[in-house]
Symmetry: C2
Subunit: 151 residues, 2 copies
């Protein structure tokens, strides 16, 4: 992978991790996301399913709706979503509709990640995909959260 | 199928069709939904992706968030969603998370319906599923909409 792109990906994934930590502090499953266009963060989101009592309030959904509002259009072909954990089926479906240019996720989600459910790629054919960026940090936050829950 | 249940399903699908017709009048892809609990409609939704410039604003998503707000809880095990057209992958994923008791849809969506993408049922194991209720009316509304678009 291109070194400059990797640095940029890590920089923005760090911002997604900041969102995930905000969720953690709120006792929400710690997943965070940012959407970037022209090297600028245009929206942020963190999981708020408990606070909003709404299981659709995932980091990606919040960031997507915020990005549509920001750009005033319903497609995001020039944007990149950074999300700390592999999107679930719902979020993968939303990302499909958004025609987002690129998706970068940190750690895989064996239980709820889209890749365990779909028989083919759920994304738009033009959407590029990367994963494993700051994987350990993304994963550790989730692990710590669920370990604390079991105590 | 039990005759009384079929009558009830048709009654509520008629209400979902009313929502779909509102979408049609707004020049939105005409899909409508209602969520019913204890024989009462607790939320309604119709597709608003154009008006909101938000591809996540599907009838089902709007009805779900409204239902969570109404009951003040994030699961809907005692509720039934009626939706005129087979849910897409995003909405199927949202319905999974909601643990909704039952899903009833009208007409299949060959192109975007969840059943063409998932390798197994995307819903919660306890969610019951029915389809084909007022199928022709649900389908005709979509057909008319897209035929008008092509004129």
């Amino acid at each position: 992978m291109d070194k400059k792109l990797l640095e940029q990906d890590e920089q923005f994934m760090t911002k997604a991790l900041e969102e995930a930590r905000i969720a953690f502090e709120k006792d929400e499953v710690p997943i965070g996301a940012v959407i970037v266009q022209n090297n600028t963060i245009i929206s942020r989101g963190h999981n708020l399913t408990e606070q909003l009592k709404d299981v659709t309030a995932h980091a990606e959904m919040i960031a997507l709706t915020s990005a549509f509002n920001y750009i005033g259009a319903k497609y995001l072909p020039d944007a990149t979503l950074y999300v700390t954990i592999e999107p679930c089926n719902m979020c993968a479906g939303a990302l499909y509709w958004s025609k987002i240019g690129r998706i970068v996720f940190g750690a895989k989600d064996i239980k709820h990640g889209y890749s365990s459910s779909y028989s083919k790629s759920p994304f738009h054919p033009k959407t590029r995909l990367s994963s494993g960026i700051l994987e350990e940090q993304c994963s550790l936050l989730m692990k710590t959260f669920f370990e604390n829950k079991r105590k």
